[in-house]
């Protein structure tokens, strides 16, 4: 099983989840994803995903002026974004359940 492929398929939901928890800028989102356990996540993937989700209306953005260095662009989740996240949650739940059964993973052991 290819972790990077899995990540590519689920990164949208992961990013939406992070941002819906708390608004964040690019590197902040990367950091939180890695802290959550997705150590392999590439920064380029996150920045691109943020941009794309913003373009599709799932995220809103605003610039926060900063004294040290360039201004940061923060992203927040929109109502549409929350819908997408909810749908993503369901998709993942159904999918992981099916795969758990196939791979004969005892779902009660999973944390």
């Amino acid at each position: 099983m290819d972790a990077s492929q899995l990540l590519r398929g689920t990164l949208d939901a992961a990013v939406l989840a992070v941002v819906s928890d708390r608004d964040g800028y690019g590197y902040d989102v990367v950091r939180r994803l890695r802290e959550a356990g997705l150590a392999e996540v590439a920064e380029a993937s996150v920045y691109g995903t943020l941009r794309r989700l913003y373009g599709s209306g799932a995220l809103t953005s605003y610039v926060q002026p900063s004294d040290e260095g360039p201004h940061r662009r923060y992203y927040g989740v929109t109502p549409h974004g929350r819908e997408v996240l909810a749908a993503g949650r369901e998709t993942w739940r159904d999918f992981s359940r099916a795969l758990d059964a196939l791979l004969a993973i005892d779902s009660e052991v999973k944390v």
């Binding site: 920064e43 993937s45 920045y47 941009r51 260095g69």
Partner: protein, 278 residues
């Protein structure tokens, strides 16, 4: 590599992306890069690879091969600036389509009513073809199907021979109304291939200059040179026939010295060397 250098390389790798989109992407990247530690290419990998992943995640088109990238940027810049000219191109390409068809079919290009349209089978047919081409072109422009690009390329290429033809035939000039043939003003006197003849020198077969030779054409008309009115050419020696009429067809015409009746140069002749005939 410094962060700036790294960013520049990433920016270069995204040269074909529209400027606005590219700047937004890079702004996010830049502000995040600032926070990292260590050289960027160690954290993020080679700039080309970073750009490729950025592009992919952002849902952009994959990078065109390197040589084409510069042209893609230029074309995009042109297209972006030219988007307000799109309707003009739609009309122009309809014309190109009709004109190119005319060139292909070897049609004639009549002078009237307009010089820049071919005659496709008949006047009415040509008008219909123009109307159809225009409507089709406008529809294409509005709908923007993917194959419109192919049509544009085809018509842009076809525009070249059309342009050459139009310039060659000066299509923009309204042709002058058919000229009524005005007869050339009749010059009174003798004329040789458009040149007025002021004097005639006749030589006999031995090459000797003849004097007071009277000339007539095939209809018996005297080949007169000059006016009857002596005042018109006061120094001209007047030659009269036995009846007293002035002979204007006696050659060579001689001129008298002013104030006398003596001919100034009785043997004057043109520079032509007249050899005896065989």
């Amino acid at each position: 590599m410094t962060t700036t250098a790294y960013l520049d390389q990433v920016r270069a790798a995204l040269a074909d992306v529209p400027a606005g989109e590219r700047d937004e992407l890079l702004a996010d990247v830049e502000s995040s890069l600032v926070e990292g530690e260590g050289p960027p290419e160690e954290r993020l990998g080679p700039p080309e690879r970073f750009a490729r992943e950025l592009r992919l995640a952002a849902g952009l088109e994959p990078a065109p091969p390197h040589a084409a990238r510069r042209w893609a940027t230029r074309l995009r810049a042109l297209a972006g600036r030219g988007s307000m000219f799109a309707p003009l191109w739609w009309v122009a390409r309809a014309y190109v389509a009709v004109a190119a068809l005319g060139l292909l079919l070897g049609s004639t290009w009549p002078d009237r009513p307009v010089h820049f349209l071919p005659m496709l089978h008949s006047g009415r047919f040509t008008i219909a073809a123009c109307a159809i081409a225009l409507v089709a072109s406008l529809w294409l422009g509005a709908r923007r199907p993917a194959w419109q690009a192919g049509v544009n390329v085809l018509l842009a290429v076809a525009a070249l021979p059309v342009l050459v033809h139009d310039i060659d035939t000066r299509a923009w000039e309204t042709p002058p109304p058919p000229a009524t043939v005005t007869a050339a003003p009749v010059a009174s006197g003798l004329d040789y291939n458009g040149n007025a003849v002021a004097n005639v020198y006749a030589y006999d077969r031995t090459g000797r200059l003849l004097h007071d030779v009277r000339l007539y054409d095939q209809a018996g008309r005297p080949l007169n040179v000059g006016a009857r009115d002596p005042g018109a050419d006061p120094l001209r020696r007047i030659v009269r026939s036995r009846g007293g009429a002035i002979a204007l067809n006696a050659f060579p015409i001689r001129y008298v010295e002013p104030g006398t009746r003596r001919v100034a140069h009785p043997d004057a002749a043109p520079r032509a060397r007249v050899a005896p005939l065989r």
